[in-house]
């Protein structure tokens, strides 16, 4: 099988907007995603997993393996759409995959 290089777009943000961000990413062309609950720290201070106090204190890390153009639209898009009011970062990096049709429309 021949490998192909596409992108992995990663968004780390408030669990409170998990659903919105996922919808946004799939809307831009992500055919799938993987999500995990994480803690962290940034300009908006420490964000720790106090499950009792609710999602808005926790972070989620959402990653989607997508074609380069989709990845770029995702990371630029989330910054514009969400990161004015919500805590978060977004980045992308190259990944080599086998079944490229699985990740493209």
């Amino acid at each position: 099988m021949n490998l192909r290089t596409i992108k992995c777009a990663v968004v780390i943000t408030e669990a409170a907007i998990k659903a919105e961000v996922i919808e946004f990413m799939t809307g831009l062309g992500a055919k799938g995603y993987t999500i995990d609950t994480v803690c962290g720290r940034g300009d908006r201070g420490v964000r720790d997993d106090d499950a009792m106090l609710g999602d808005y204190l926790r972070n989620v890390k959402i990653e989607a393996v997508v074609p380069p153009d989709v990845a770029e639209r995702i990371i630029t898009g989330v910054v514009e759409k969400f990161f004015k009011n919500y805590a978060g970062i977004a980045y992308m990096h190259d990944v080599q995959i086998v079944r490229h049709t699985k990740f493209e429309f």
Binding site: I17, R44, G45, M52, L53, G54, D55, Y56, Y86
Partner: protein
């Protein structure tokens, strides 16, 4: 006065409050003592289920009268009115911008279930009864408080206040849904239901509350340092606002004809500030508001104030009021 000291001493020397203090201490010395989040959440669900169920059972036992109607109306009014009192104070005394003032105001119109539970267990120790429907009153205060807050934030224009996300957060949010749901189950199944559930509802209750307040103490302790950032005027608001709310609650309670216990609990509801439901709802409905301001205030200042001073104080004052009546 000595009488008040006795009451608050009796309150502070009860296991739940002592475990709360233990939690505060653990957080201050940066101990790794920490109830796992999953368990903490489950314990909070247990308390909601118990409080709701008990309220429902008690309601099923008592015949419905006008007082109930008045009381429920009073709850809605209180939830909507408190933010209107808090807002100007926050704007002027604490010099907050419109949005953040409105956001915090909403927190204080709403309620803290754990404070309510602590008050219930306080009344329990003193053997004082209360109306079962206070749980329903508690449930009715959230929405008006948040809506008022949003309208204040939008400068009168209550645009898109009722977004679907908002409704889901507030009406169908886990906290409220479990509380009301358990209330209904208790109401439907009544005494028969309590019989079957007593071993779960009553037997471990105080112990679980201790466990839970231990965790609350840890979380509160962790946030004490954030209060400094909030600034003195805001911290002071976290102390006098509950007293304003508490007095208002007492008068409302006496007015609608609640029992002594019920009056104390309504005072506690008005005095307490939400740190779970409202923050979650506002994160969607008012994202410009800064949660780092409201959280430490409600959890770090007002919550411990009510636990240590508020509850016995409102009880003490309510007694005095009921003597006059």
């Amino acid at each position: 006065m000595t009488e008040f000291f006795q009451i608050s001493l009796q309150n502070i020397l009860s296991p739940p409050i002592l475990f709360f203090i233990l939690g505060l201490f653990a957080a201050r010395v940066r101990s790794d003592l920490e109830i796992p989040p999953a368990v903490g959440k489950a314990l909070s669900y247990y308390l909601l289920l118990v409080i709701g169920f008990k309220g429902g059972v008690e309601l099923s036992a008592s015949e419905l009268n006008m007082t109930l109607i008045y009381a429920l109306a009073a709850a809605v009014i209180a939830g909507a009115a408190l933010p209107l009192i808090a807002f100007p104070l926050l704007r002027v005394a604490a010099r907050l911008d419109r949005v953040n003032a409105a956001a915090i105001a909403a927190h204080y119109g709403s309620i803290s279930v754990v404070t309510f539970v602590a008050a219930v267990s306080f009344l329990g120790i003193s053997g004082i009864a209360y109306e079962g429907y206070l749980v329903a009153m508690m449930a009715l205060m959230e929405a008006p408080a948040i809506i008022t807050g949003l309208v204040l934030a939008r400068g009168g224009r209550g645009s898109n206040v009722f977004s679907s996300a908002f409704v889901r957060e507030v009406l169908f949010g886990g906290t409220l849904l479990l509380l009301i749901g358990s209330f209904c189950v208790g109401w439907i199944t009544g005494g028969r239901g309590m019989e079957a559930m007593a071993g779960f509802i009553k037997t471990p209750f105080t112990g679980v509350l201790c466990f839970f307040l231990l965790e609350m103490g840890i979380m509160t302790g962790k946030r004490l340092s954030d209060i400094a950032k909030a600034g003195l005027p805001l911290a002071l608001f976290g102390l006098y606002m509950p007293m304003i709310g508490g007095v208002m609650g007492m008068l409302l309670g006496a007015l609608v004809g609640l029992s002594l216990g019920g009056t104390v609990l309504l005072a506690v509801l008005c005095a307490s500030a939400s740190y779970i439901v409202v923050p979650a709802a506002l994160r969607h409905a008012l994202p410009e508001a800064n949660p780092a301001l409201s959280m430490p205030l409600a959890l770090g200042v007002t919550f411990p104030f009510n636990i240590f001073v508020g509850i016995p104080l409102y009880y003490f004052l309510a007694q005095k009021i009921f003597m006059l009546l």
